[in-house]
């Protein structure tokens, strides 16, 4: 699905050159669930931006489903972002003026889908993340976990083949984090390819493979031998809380 060959990204900040990515080569297969780990400034976010076609590499190539993304013009890249890629952000990035349903519909708006069909599909994805009852709520009326579930619904509505999540649990409490990870695991079981950036080793253990970045380089990759189930962790956590009380 994704083939990256000697990818590099250099920023010119005006004073000094920053090499955010150095000679990264990797591939991601259909149905993979990848956790990307590494300290701040290791190049994780840059990688995600390039994978999401929000940023261009300064060297190397990135092929998505066999297409060399470097040869695409802006509109073609926008079409890929719209149809093939779903984004989930740490800070949710819901539009504050739009209610849940309209936030979820947004990608379909740019895909030119009619209003009626948008509503039907929005209702379906909201149902799948358990928030159909909150379709008319504005983002500021939702909890953090609910906001992230709306964001995931929005990322999924165009049935993208690739889901990019940049620290999706970074702003959430433990219970919400497990709930969100359970959603990702469900999506993975249904065949989605997921790449997730995280700081938390425990979250990373919920993926199938973990890659580590340091100083812009891909330093190691390991398979998660015994992936945990987020729902089990949630259950355990609830019991611990119960014992504390």
């Amino acid at each position: 699905m994704i083939t990256i060959d000697s990818l590099s990204k250099t920023y010119n900040t005006g004073i000094l050159m920053v090499e955010a990515l150095k000679d990264v080569t990797m591939s991601v297969e259909d149905g993979d669930f990848l956790a990307v780990m590494g300290p701040s400034g290791s190049g994780k976010s840059t990688l995600m931006n390039i994978l999401g076609l929000l940023d261009q590499p300064t060297g190397g190539s990135y092929r998505l489903d066999g297409v060399d993304t470097g040869s695409l013009d802006e509109d073609q890249q926008a079409a890929l972002r719209n149809g093939k890629i779903g984004f989930v952000f740490q800070n949710f990035n819901l539009l504050p003026r739009l209610n849940t349903q309209r936030n979820v519909e947004l990608p379909l708006v740019y895909a030119g889908v009619s209003r009626g069909e948008r509503q039907t599909r929005a209702a379906a994805v909201l149902q799948s993340v358990g928030l159909l009852s909150h379709a008319r709520h504005l983002p500021n009326e939702l909890s953090g976990g609910q906001k992230q579930r709306v964001a995931i619904a929005r990322a999924m509505i165009n049935r993208p083949s690739l889901l990019l999540a940049d620290e999706p649990t970074g702003n959430l409490d433990s219970a919400s984090s497990y709930e969100i990870m359970a959603l990702f695991q469900d999506l993975h079981r249904q065949g989605s390819t997921i790449i997730l950036v995280t700081h938390e080793p425990e979250i990373a253990q919920l993926a199938r493979q973990i890659i580590y970045f340091r100083d812009g380089r891909l330093v190691s990759s390991e398979k998660v031998e015994h992936p945990l189930d987020a729902r089990d962790l949630l259950e355990e956590w609830r019991q611990e809380q119960g014992e504390l009380i």
């Binding site: 929000l54 802006e74 079409a79 972002r81 990035n93 947004l106 030119g112």
Partner: protein, 394 residues
């Protein structure tokens, strides 16, 4: 993204910031309002003057005595009028017009009023069609013997004898001399709302009141329109011979007078229009300013939209539609106010109300265009935002 949805989105954006949007629109509202008022009034005025000229007949022309290059002044007398009328076949009649270059005083025991005093012949009512509330215009016989009879306006009759009083047959003093009222005219459409209080007396009576035997103007009417040009040339030639003053006479057809008036009016309208245009420009700058603020405020939103698949032109169009909508709403409100005030002023000044579809379309199109032009820079700025920076913007 469909245009209808863009529009709905734009209206939503404008509605969310009601106060800000209203203040931004104010510039457009005022600018468009003034443009419409000025154009409406200009057209009304033109219409009114055209109507008046029409009333005087397209076949009429005015004769004036003027000073030539050598400083000699032409003269016009009653005999000249008589002579032109009899010698030039194409001329139907010539009406002498003598007027006092001062405001004459008309008085009764009840009141004293100022008036424009005109001495003329009964043919005058053929070129200036006036209606009568009481009585009639004076007759040729009264003119010939120089009787002291006067035609006064309704306003004057009300002032001198009291509202609703019978005026015909009663006596007024004009410059201390007693005159008998023979007719009261209906109020005429007042030019620019200035009530024209004109008093008509026989020209012979007028001339007898002073030492001056000259009249100031003559109004001539030809039998058919195609004779007009020839008649003016002939008249001037005859008058030059009679008084031996070359270049001492001038003619002006009603058509020319109208043209002249229209030209002056067009200049005035353009000057005021340009001032209103500057107001529109300022309104446009206001819109640009607020759109720049809006783009900055919504930086993150722009980043999110791009990440979800919006193309640059989707973002560009979104902001352009918003600024054009803002301007068009302002323009439409200004247009309604302009039409309202324009019509109101026309009614107050007793002018015909002229509202042209062209003006309305122009105001709407122009304000939308201003919205688009002044929205271009902010919209382009939004479309050029780097999505990564935009997503990080706090």
């Amino acid at each position: 993204m469909r245009f209808g949805e863009m529009l709905a989105l734009a209206v939503e954006g404008i509605w969310v910031n009601k106060l800000r949007s209203a203040l931004t629109m104010l510039g457009m509202i005022i600018g468009v309002m003034f443009v419409i008022i000025i154009v409406t009034l200009g057209q009304s005025l033109n219409e009114q003057v055209a109507e008046e000229v029409e009333g005087m007949g397209a076949n009429a022309f005015t004769l004036l005595a003027v000073t030539n290059e050598d400083g000699q002044r032409g003269r016009l007398t009653l005999e000249d009028c008589q002579f032109l009328e009899t010698t030039i076949d194409s001329i139907e009649f010539v009406v002498p017009i003598a007027y006092a270059n001062y405001t004459a005083a008309v008085e009764t025991s009840r009141a004293k009023k100022g008036t424009t005093l005109i001495g003329t012949s009964p043919d005058y009512i053929k070129v200036d069609q006036m209606g009568f509330n009481q009585g009639r215009f004076f007759s040729e016989a009264e003119n010939q013997v120089g009787r002291r009879v006067a035609v006064i306006s309704q306003q004057m009759a009300d002032d001198l004898f009291g509202p609703g009083s019978e005026a015909v047959g009663r006596t007024v003093r004009i410059n201390r001399l007693p005159f008998q009222v023979c007719g009261v005219t209906k109020p005429q459409a007042a030019l620019l709302g200035i009530e024209q209080s004109t008093t008509f007396i026989p020209v012979k009576t007028m001339l007898a009141m002073s030492d001056d035997k000259d009249i100031q103007q003559a109004l001539a009417r030809v039998k058919t329109g195609d004779q007009l040009q020839a008649a003016t040339v002939q008249s001037v030639r005859i008058l030059e011979m009679r008084h031996a003053v070359k270049g001492g006479f001038m003619t002006q057809t009603n058509e020319e007078a109208l043209e002249q008036f229209s030209t002056i009016l067009a200049v005035i309208t353009s000057v005021f229009g340009a001032l209103a245009g500057i107001a529109l420009l300022v309104g446009g700058i206001g819109i640009m300013n607020i759109m720049l603020v809006s783009v900055t405020e919504r930086t993150r939103e722009i980043g999110v939209r791009v990440a979800l698949g919006a193309r640059r032109r989707d973002i560009l169009t979104q902001f352009l539609v918003e600024s054009a909508t803002l301007a068009a709403i302002g323009g439409s409100l200004g247009m309604l106010l302009g039409i309202g005030f324009g019509a109101l002023i026309s009614v107050i000044l007793e002018m015909p109300v002229v509202i042209s579809l062209g003006t309305i379309l122009f105001a709407f199109g122009f304000s939308s265009a201003i919205g688009i032009i002044f929205g271009l820079y902010p919209a382009n700025r939004a479309a050029r935002l780097n999505p990564i920076d935009a997503l990080r913007y706090e």
